[in-house]
């Protein structure tokens, strides 16, 4: 009798088992509505699944690729699944972030009524399964099915509170842009399909890899992929759904969407560009770099002027995606220029940033969710002073905020550092014009990073610090233990990813090797990150952290022992005006006002200012995305105009309808006998 041991299964089989597990969990939720106790177990079990998935990803990163063919799919085109290093890395990302978020969700959703909890569990786990399958898919059909399952399930998650018209609108916009992007991806796969037409196997990635593409068609495929994946990732100008959908969704879902789902688009872009398209043109990189930088700056500027905390975080996601895409563009530039080592560096940077973003954005969204849950307010102008009521949430969120602001020694800094290093290494490029572009690009990245700090000070400061701006805050309570545990996991991720870059980079290296054919050599020791050469650049966060910590302790001890610890509490300084109140603090709008003033050109500002005789003066300022007016409105108008024209053809008179038939007939007769 043959024995079956666990090692008989390839990682990809485990990953698929995980997907099936999630699916089973999701659908069982529908049938467990009577058994509240069991229903409550679904989310923790899902979290365990995520942890397992991260483990599978790690195994795939370490080991060789594995593939299976499933018995479902189209005839002759069953689902091909494959787990290689690239998929493995993103599985780690997914599993790692999803574990924290799902754990958090198990607490966050506990107050939902049974029916809604069951639906939530269904879509949530379907969403997880969809994202995982996207990473595993090895043929276009499986990929697209998973891609759209991901979109659809997240749509239903976004519209959980569909009573509000805003949320419906957000969901609609989200699904629409996702769908248009998906069609674009379809077209991309249409270009890429290899082999003879008429073979369904032509849609497997294996055939696509071997297909020879003319440069023109390769470029078409690339542009379609950039559009399609860009729409999902939030590339400007396809970003409009993002700041609508993320706030609309329940917070764990926003965390998952922002932290993980956007990364699947990055995964897809990498997969298509490096793995499937063989020919590569240099200008693709320039394009991606430009778009990425525009996106980064655009995102961060708008993040700075938001008053809704989840919307702020959503815009910040756009910024981060922009940074990642800029890295992607730079990788392409280096790669096509034959600078494999540099390509490896930038690729490492972008993968690192993707990983980081999953953790800190997950953390920030869960933190914001905890605040929302506790106060029922998303508007920062009604918050403040939460640090004293919910210290756990506050401190954990602070870690996320510092990390995303790119401050050492947390993880955001590492990826930013790597990316900036890459910019500094460009002078070796063969195309002089790029040498001129790069400094500007580097400057933009630096600017975006600095603005991100601005944004995060605003986010954290206005929400958690200061004095409560509305009574809603007074009833706030600390998040439950499951939420805290989830956030703690994510925060730990931020810290660890920040402190052990060499280890993380070693983990990334199989992916980098797979895509660029080179790995990043670390010149330093295990402590020190020196991507090219210790002479050129190095960074040792653990030493750094230790020194900060030691200095801090020394100073503290010295101050305590050399002097005294006496302290007295008093009223704050009121500048001689005793009637200070919470409204005199900067509001979120006020904090963003300088940015709004500087970058006025990109925004459509709506202002409502009180007149001098108002009894209850109110000020309202709203900064809208100008691209909405510049891009989407005209498209909508054009569609409406065309639809109007077409509609006029159908005016109800049967004689005219007959004329159409008649004209068609005559036209065709002339056409075929010509």
């Amino acid at each position: 009798m043959p024995t079956v041991s666990l090692s008989d299964f390839a990682p990809v089989e485990y990953a698929w088992a995980g997907v099936l597990f999630w699916l089973a969990l999701g659908f069982s939720a529908l049938f467990l509505q009577r058994l509240r106790g069991l229903l409550a177990l679904i989310f923790p079990l899902g979290a365990l699944g995520a942890l397992g998935m991260a483990g599978v990803g790690l195994a795939a990163l370490m080991g060789a690729g594995s593939a299976i063919v499933l018995p479902i799919g189209l005839p002759e085109l069953p689902f091909h699944l494959r787990l290689d290093a690239l998929s493995g890395l993103f599985l780690v990302l997914l599993g790692g972030a999803a574990f924290g978020v799902t754990l958090y969700a198990s607490g966050y959703f506990r107050q939902l009524d049974t029916a809604r909890l069951a639906l939530m569990a269904l879509w949530f786990h379907l969403f997880l399964a969809g994202m995982t399958t996207v990473l595993l898919a090895d043929d276009a059909y499986a990929f697209m099915v998973a891609w759209e399952v991901m979109a659809l399930s997240s749509y239903f998650l976004v519209t959980t509170d569909h009573d509000q018209p805003d949320i419906r609108r957000a969901g609609f916009l989200y699904l629409l842009i996702a769908h248009v992007g998906a069609v674009s991806l379809l077209l991309c796969f249409g270009v890429l399909q290899g082999g003879d037409i008429g073979q369904m196997q032509a849609y497997t990635f294996e055939y696509m890899r071997s297909a020879e593409l003319a440069p023109f068609w390769a470029s078409v495929a690339f542009l379609l992929a950039l559009f399609g994946f860009g729409a999902k990732a939030g590339l400007v100008p396809m970003h409009v759904w993002l700041p609508e959908a993320h706030p609309a969704a329940p917070s764990p879902v926003s965390a998952l969407m922002s932290g993980v789902m956007l990364k699947t688009a990055i995964y897809g872009l990498l997969r298509v560009t490096f793995d499937l398209i063989n020919v590569q043109e240099g200008w693709w990189g320039t394009l991606a770099l430009t778009l990425g930088l525009v996106t980064a700056l655009y995102g961060v500027i708008f993040a700075a002027v938001q008053a809704d905390m989840k919307r702020l975080l959503a815009w910040s996601s756009i910024e981060n995606i922009g940074v990642i895409l800029a890295g992607f563009g730079l990788t392409l530039i280096f790669y096509t220029d034959g600078k494999g080592a540099l390509a490896a560096l930038t690729l490492t940077a972008l993968l690192y940033h993707a990983l980081n973003h999953a953790f800190f954005k997950g953390l920030l969204f869960t933190g914001a969710g905890a605040v929302l849950h506790a106060t029922g307010e998303r508007n920062m102008d009604k918050l403040g002073g939460l640090m004293r009521v919910m210290p756990w949430t506050a401190w954990l969120t602070l870690i996320g905020a510092l990390a995303i602001a790119g401050l050492p020694p947390l993880n955001g800094f590492v990826s930013e550092w790597l990316l900036l290093q890459a910019f500094l290494l460009t002078p070796g490029l063969n195309q002089p014009y790029l040498n001129m572009v790069i400094p500007v690009a580097a400057a933009s990245v630096a600017l975006a990073a600095a603005l991100a700090a601005y944004v995060m000070v605003k986010f954290f400061g206005v929400t958690f610090l200061g004095v409560a701006r509305s009574p809603a805050v007074a009833q706030a309570h600390e998040a439950g233990w499951r939420e805290r545990l989830g956030m703690l996991w994510l925060a730990a991720g931020c810290v660890l990813l920040g402190l052990f870059p060499t280890q993380v980079i070693a983990l990334l290296s199989p992916v980098v090797l797979q895509l660029t054919g080179q790995t990043l050599v670390n010149d330093g020791s295990w402590l020190m990150l020196a991507p090219v050469d210790a002479e050129r650049a190095s960074y040792a966060p653990l030493v750094f952290f230790a020194v900060v910590l030691v200095t801090l302790l020394l100073v503290f001890i010295w101050v305590r022992y050399a002097y005294h610890g006496r302290m007295r509490r008093a009223d704050p300084w009121d500048c001689g005006y005793p009637e200070q109140d919470a409204r005199m603090q900067d509001s979120a709008e006020g904090f963003g006002q300088p940015i709004r003033q500087i970058f006025d050109a990109f925004m459509r500002v709506e202002r409502e200012t009180p007149d001098p005789f108002d009894r209850h003066p109110r000020y309202r300022g709203d900064s809208r995305d100008k691209l909405w007016v510049l891009v989407y409105q005209p498209i909508a108008n054009l569609a409406a105009w065309l639809s109007d024209r077409v509609g006029r053809l159908q005016h109800g008179r049967i004689q005219w309808y007959l004329i159409y038939s008649f004209a068609t007939l005559i036209f065709l007769l002339v056409f075929v006998t010509r």
Binding site: G647, R648, L649, Q650, H651, G652, R653, I654, Q655, L658, I659, S661, F662, L665, I666, L669, T673
Partner: protein, 220 residues
């Protein structure tokens, strides 16, 4: 080569058919239209019978008989009755004025002839030129349906089109298989029956058979 007399008669009838089509295009009164329709049916029936006799295809006799009964007797009678009953024998106001319609009609005839020319030349049947005429009368009937704004003339146009088709079937290709012809005839019969029901419903509902009342369903 001279054609046999009977074929000359068929050609003559074909010309008559076309002439009647033109006449129908210019006819304003519904009763007149019905009469012309009956005449067209008669010409069709006659030509079918001649073809049947000359080729010895007996099933064409059935067709001829069916045509005669349906299109010369039954339908015109039915339409007369309808017109009387519904009292709608007013002047027909065409959508396009008659001279223009005639001009378009002539253009259509030329077009149809041109279209049918290559086909006629390869036709095995002796009455090959009739295909062009059949096509022309189909197109003319189509034109008539377009220009008429009342329900009954439109239906007559529709039936006239069917006449053209029949003519194409019988005279140009010596008839379709009997089953098909029977089926077609049955369909026409049912169709007219349905139409009759319709006319009453429409009349009941709109108090008129004017198509102007039926322009509500449209893209606003």
């Amino acid at each position: 080569m001279f054609l046999a007399y009977h074929l000359q008669v068929v050609n003559l009838l074909a010309a008559l058919l076309l002439l009647i089509s033109f006449a129908m295009l210019s006819q304003r009164r519904i009763t007149g239209l019905v009469t012309l329709f009956a005449w067209q049916g008669a010409a069709l029936s006659l030509s079918t019978a001649i073809v049947a006799w000359s080729t010895g295809q007996h099933h064409l006799y059935y067709s001829a008989a069916l045509t005669f009964i349906l299109k010369v007797l039954a339908m015109p009678w039915y339409f007369y009755r309808l017109v009387k009953k519904l009292n709608v024998d007013r002047d027909v106001e065409p959508m396009i004025n008659i001279p223009t319609t005639m001009l378009i009609g002539i253009a259509l005839v030329i077009f149809a002839f041109n279209l049918a020319l290559p086909i006629s030349q390869m036709s095995g049947t002796v009455t090959r030129s009739t295909l062009g005429i059949a096509m022309a009368s189909v197109l003319l009937a189509f034109l008539m349906m377009i220009t008429r704004s009342k329900a009954i003339p439109q239906v007559i146009g529709f039936l006239a089109m069917e006449n053209g088709l029949f003519f194409a079937a019988t005279s140009a290709s010596y008839g379709m298989p009997l089953v098909v012809e029977m089926g077609v005839a049955l369909d026409v019969l049912v169709g007219v029956f349905v139409l009759g029901i319709f006319f009453f419903q429409i009349r009941e509902t709109f108090d008129s058979l004017d198509l102007k009342h039926m322009e509500k369903l449209k893209e606003k």
